[in-house]
């Protein structure tokens, strides 16, 4: 992905949701996109599959998948990639599954090979339900989404995505709506499926705990910009951006190990973005230059990038692991 821009064109203003975002995802890797609501992480994900709805539009940049720029394809060609090459799972499975089709029908619809007979398809679907850990598969196949619990729905959705054997899985907050015990199950399920089917995963989440459990590399987004990219151990061990550091310190730790230092203030208005660094109003380390000039994404060491004027100052800040 290179210099991706996605804007939403509203009546009087243009909201720049994704502002020149670039990153690479390698084969068989789980790449995390983290940030708070409205930071553009979901919009980035949807832009990959060109699923941004009106009034939004991808305004520039490129999304290159295996050498092909997805943004230049015709809608018909694009459909070949959706699902079969790149699958997507959503936060709220109830809205992503079709309520008037049985789970079985939805999974069977997704099989690529059209020569399969109905019974062959059903057999494959039962097998998929087994893989994602849905008990009494046969009976479940003829049930509707509303008869499933939240966790089971998420599993069913994963099964229907797996049916078309994608090489890449886009997961948009797949566990946010679930209880901790179920969240734990789904995290482990996605991790194991990724290995089994040799997939790459792009995971969007706001939960650093989920990142720690799943990701190999992580990009931290704020107000449509990538602020820091690093492998997960570096990010948790030695973060070099004030926003990442603030997030790390916003997570409650053992009882009363000292007062927490959350980030003050709230998220900026995307329609009226300041010139300089978007994090400047809330930053603890800001100086005059931050208001005037947007810092570049600088490589600190191999694979570790940060967008800050004062990387040197942040050298001694601790990451989550040490806190």
């Amino acid at each position: 992905m290179d210099n991706l821009e996605t804007n939403f064109y509203c009546k009087n203003e243009t909201v720049k949701v994704v502002r020149k975002v670039s990153f690479d995802v390698h084969e068989k890797e789980t790449f995390g996109l983290i940030g708070e609501s409205g930071c553009g992480k979901s919009a980035t994900l949807l832009s990959i599959l060109r699923l941004i709805k009106d009034p939004g539009r991808v305004a520039g940049g490129s999304v290159v998948y295996k050498g092909i720029n997805l943004l230049e394809l015709s809608e018909k060609e694009m459909n070949k990639y959706r699902g079969s090459e790149i699958g997507m799972i959503f936060q709220e499975p109830m809205t992503a599954l079709n309520p008037v089709l049985t789970i079985g029908e939805q999974i069977c619809d997704a099989f690529k090979d059209e020569k399969l007979t109905k019974s062959e398809k059903e057999e494959k679907a039962i097998n998929l339900l087994k893989i994602v850990g849905i008990p009494s598969e046969k009976q479940r196949l003829s049930e509707y989404p509303h008869q499933f619990s939240g966790g089971m729905r998420q599993r069913a959705m994963i099964a229907s995505v797996l049916a078309s054997e994608p090489k890449m899985l886009l997961a948009d907050e797949p566990t946010t709506a679930l209880d901790v015990t179920i969240q734990d199950q789904i995290i482990k399920l996605i991790n194991n499926l990724k290995k089994k089917f040799n997939m790459s995963v792009i995971l969007v989440t706001h939960d650093l705990g989920v990142v720690a459990e799943m990701c190999d590399r992580v990009a931290v987004m704020y107000a449509g910009k990538i602020m820091e990219i690093a492998d997960v151990l570096t990010l948790f061990g030695e973060p070099r951006h004030p926003y990442t550091i603030g997030l790390s310190q916003s997570i409650p730790r053992k009882i009363r190990s000292g007062k927490l230092h959350p980030i003050e203030g709230s998220l900026p208005d995307l329609a009226n973005m300041p010139e300089g660094c978007p994090f400047e109003p809330r930053c603890r380390y800001k100086e005059k230059i931050c208001k005037e000039e947007l810092p570049e994404l600088i490589e600190i060491k191999k694979g570790h990038f940060s967008r800050c004027h004062f990387i040197e100052k942040l050298k001694n800040e601790k990451g989550i692991i040490e806190l």
Partner: protein
């Protein structure tokens, strides 16, 4: 520990919701079935303590809170607030007494009236309960706004003009203007962004110390509970399964369910990843709860005895209660 003052005492509190009968059920004279949301819960909360109430969704934690302030009428049991029996109050007196117990809700988007300005929303309750003289109300509202960190000049704006965190602050101001002694906070930060969550938690904690409040903190986020509370109550399917001092309970959980909840919370260290889930299966429906130990179908340690007899909530060590035949923590008493 004897000198701690009990502010709220709940005795055998029960809340059942009847299920709708179908015409077939009526004709065949089937007995009404119930959702046993809160089932025989007893609990003491001490003055000045932060108590956490945790459990999975559907375990009855919100219903318990709403039953305590009688937004739901209890099916059975008693609630004492201080010396006073809260269950026997009639509606008129109940309304008066509610100024002492205030609730903060999860969703600040829906708990504020969209047609009321911030000032109106905050002063509405104060007027009703006659907290102060009419000409002092404005002063009082401003005082509240300062306390929760909302600039005074925003007081004539409407809820839609505020962010989630600010709305939650307004909700807190609205609860605090009545000088309550006890706050029920039902998932007060669950719908907020991570960086804003901690602001609200710190605010609640500061206010608690400043105003000498007692807070019952309902949350499914164990990290938040561990950070802010002194005491934790764990619920499963309408029943309390464990009560204990926060520090001790997080260090050595006694009930297998507590242990599983703690282990299911993602660790914040990528080096400590596990490959298998800590528990398979999901919470069963609260309609037909087994008469035996209700956790036995999911419990890794359950044996025949657990499948026959329901365990009682027993004291096993100092301030630690557990409802399990085979607690993980050895009994000291």
């Amino acid at each position: 520990m004897q000198n701690k003052e009990i502010i709220l005492k709940v005795e055998n509190l029960t809340k059942y919701f009847p299920l709708k009968k179908t015409i077939f059920d009526v004709l065949t004279k089937k007995p009404t079935r119930y959702v046993k949301a809160v089932d025989n819960v007893s609990l003491e909360i001490f003055k000045g303590e932060n108590t956490g109430l945790v459990g999975e969704s559907g375990c009855g934690k919100s219903t318990l809170a709403k039953t305590i302030i009688r937004l739901h009428e209890p099916t059975g049991g008693k609630i004492y607030f201080g010396e006073e029996n809260f269950t026997s109050l009639d509606q008129k007196n109940l309304r008066k007494r509610r100024s002492d117990i205030q609730m903060i809700f999860q969703d600040p988007y829906s708990s504020l009236n969209p047609k009321m300005s911030v000032k109106e929303a905050i002063e509405e309750a104060a007027k009703y309960h006659k907290v102060c003289k009419k000409d002092e109300i404005e002063l009082k509202v401003n005082e509240m706004l300062d306390m929760v960190g909302i600039p005074r000049y925003l007081s004539s704006r409407f809820p839609r003009e505020f962010s989630g965190g600010q709305r939650q602050r307004i909700g807190i101001a609205r609860a605090l203007i009545l000088n309550p002694k006890f706050i029920l906070a039902d998932e007060p930060v669950a719908s907020l962004d991570v960086s804003v969550q901690m602001q609200i938690i710190n605010l609640l904690d500061d206010l608690k110390n400043k105003l000498n409040l007692t807070i019952l903190f309902i949350s499914h986020d164990l990290r938040v509970v561990e950070y802010i509370t002194n005491k934790v109550v764990v619920m499963y399917l309408g029943k309390i399964v464990e009560i204990g001092n926060t520090k001790e309970l997080f260090e050595s959980p006694a009930h297998p369910y507590t242990n599983i909840l703690l282990n299911a919370t993602p660790v914040l260290d990528p080096r400590k990843r596990a490959t298998n889930a800590v528990i398979e299966g999901e919470t069963p429906s609260p309609i037909d709860i087994p008469a035996e130990c209700r956790f036995n179908p999911r419990c890794p340690f359950a044996d025949d005895f657990c499948r026959k007899v329901e365990p009682e909530l027993k004291l096993i060590s100092k301030e630690r209660y557990v409802a399990c035949h085979k607690p993980l923590l050895k009994s000291e008493i």
